[in-house]
């Protein structure tokens, strides 16, 4: 069985001197979704930050295409994109400028047309020139999602992607994840709310010892 | 017995426990001997009469303040390179003693300057560099105090010590360039000592005494840091159990 794209080998993580989890192993291939669940403060976000390479584990390692991410930081970051609790959207810039910067981060020339199409697809056509400060949290989340789409990365790492979104936005989010997975992408996400994703290979990973009451994933 | 066994905090804790008395006693004896030389063997200096005897602690303290800073930078670099927890603990344990020696060097420098140059504080190259070194020490200790997360604190402190240690020679050169009031290094490794051999001997003995004292104090402090950081481990629990 060729190496999985993303694999984790007896990972251990501690915050301060408290051990959050240890001996964690899993592998994820293209087209698969990994749902990370667990109570608050059990280490969900810490695990995601380990996967992105922002923080380094106490023991074990994270591998991308079979190689530890520590050694191939730039190559790995070119194929991965992370959406944390904070959107990473600048309030003083308007959505288009935010996307221009997101493209710049990836070291790519800015394709304004494609950016505007993506923003319109996510329902932001009326506020392309407004500073994000005036937008609602849901709208700012959509700007961050547009940046996610523009990045065109294989691996999405999403921390609580559904929080603060209205029903339409949640449906939109599920659609984006479904399209991304069917196009051969991979998603690692933490979430409290139920996700309806039919026909998607879902792995579930429990972090910490607090089990979440049955989560409807049909 | 390879060196690596003592890299683990548990082994180092017991080893340090055994070594501390030796270093402490060594420091005590050498200090007495050094003071004896300073006050009873060293002749009266024809120009500066008796005030020059302050040099017997001013110079060792100044040496130690610089030396400890470099050792801190060394342990910090080792910690950053090999991610060994013990080296970060050593760096943290060294800082207060280094700051203390810097303060002593400043104080004795000022109190030696008053009879010599007639002013409590003289903006001369050596003293000013010593003052800036004190600021560097205070900066590192303040940074460690401000960061609660141990892992981040260790690395941040070591990085600051690193850029500080690259800067110390430049600070010294620039201050010397700015004002060379001081009569030049009374003892520098390169040129021969410009004073009686007995005085040099006294100062060297007191420097070694200060060095042994530093090791003893740092080992005590590092043991305390080890206990605090290894709180969760079995051996610390057993140790505390045994004592209570």
């Amino acid at each position: 069985m060729p190496d999985a794209l993303l694999s984790v080998h007896d990972l251990a993580c501690a915050r301060g001197d408290r051990l959050l989890f240890k001996g964690m192993n899993f592998a994820l291939n293209s087209g698969e979704l990994l749902l990370v669940q667990g109570g608050n403060g059990q280490g969900k976000t810490s695990l995601l930050r380990l996967l992105t390479g922002l923080s380094s584990p106490e023991e074990g390692e994270v591998r991308w295409r079979g190689e530890p991410i520590r050694g191939q930081r730039e190559a790995y970051h070119a194929e991965m994109v992370y959406l944390g609790h904070a959107n990473g959207v600048k309030d003083d810039l308007n959505p288009v400028e935010n996307l221009r910067f997101a493209d710049g981060l990836q070291g790519r020339a800015f394709d304004e047309a494609r950016a505007i199409v993506t923003l319109e697809r996510l329902g932001l056509s009326r506020c392309l020139d407004l500073p994000c400060r005036v937008l609602s949290f849901g709208q700012r989340r959509r700007v961050a999602l547009s940046a996610l789409l523009l990045a065109g990365a294989i691996l999405w790492i999403l921390d609580e992607p559904l929080t603060g979104l209205d029903i339409h936005a949640v449906a939109l989010m599920e659609g984006l994840i479904r399209d991304h997975l069917s196009a051969g992408g991979m998603v690692v996400a933490t979430t409290h709310q139920a996700l309806n994703l039919e026909g998607v290979i879902v792995q579930r990973l429990l972090v910490g010892n607090v089990a979440i009451p049955e989560l409807a994933v049909d | 017995m390879n060196l690596y066994t003592y890299a683990s905090p548990a082994n180092f804790y017991t080893l340090a426990g055994r070594l501390i008395p030796w270093f402490a006693w060594g420091a005590g004896i050498l200090t007495l001997w050094g003071l004896y030389i300073a006050f009873f063997l060293a002749p009266t200096d024809f120009q500066q009469s008796e005030a020059y005897r302050i040099i017997f602690i001013h110079v060792p303290a100044a040496w130690m303040s610089m030396f400890i800073y470099l050792v801190m930078a060394f342990w910090g670099a080792i910690g950053l390179a090999f991610n060994t927890r013990l080296s970060f603990m050593m760096a943290r344990a060294l800082a207060p003693t280094g700051a203390m020696f810097t303060f002593v060097a400043l104080w004795t420098g000022a109190w030696w300057g008053k009879p010599m140059w007639g002013a409590w504080w003289v903006w001369d190259a050596r003293l000013t560099s010593e003052l800036i070194l004190l600021f560097l020490y205070v900066g590192i200790i303040a940074l460690w105090a401000a960061i609660d997360d141990i892992k981040r604190g260790d690395r941040a402190g070591s990085l600051l010590t690193l850029i500080g240690s690259i800067n110390v020679p430049i600070i010294y050169f620039s201050v010397k360039w700015w004002n060379t009031l001081h009569q030049g290094a009374s003892v520098s490794v390169t040129k021969a000592p410009s004073m009686a051999a007995i005085m040099l001997q006294g100062m060297l003995i007191l420097s070694i005494a200060a060095w042994l004292y530093t090791i003893a104090v740092v080992l005590v402090r590092v043991r305390r840091i080890i206990l605090e950081r290894e709180r969760q481990t079995e051996w610390v629990k057993a140790l505390l159990e045994k004592e209570s």
Partner: protein
């Protein structure tokens, strides 16, 4: 012996104030550091034992 009498020794050729001021402060700094260390060691052990009891409940 360098000094005729003990009083000469303390007088230190007229610079006693400065010499003993310097040596005194140095001794004081060393003493303060050692005392603080001793107190901190005891305090740490008490705190750790207290934490240990708390965690064992």
């Amino acid at each position: 012996m360098e000094w005729a009498s003990w009083s000469d020794f303390w007088h230190m050729g007229g610079y006693g104030f400065y010499v003993w001021g310097s040596f005194g402060v140095t001794a004081a700094c060393v003493l303060v550091e050692v005392v603080l260390l001793k107190r901190a060691a005891g305090e740490t052990r008490r705190r750790l034992k207290r934490m240990q009891q708390w965690e064992e409940q």
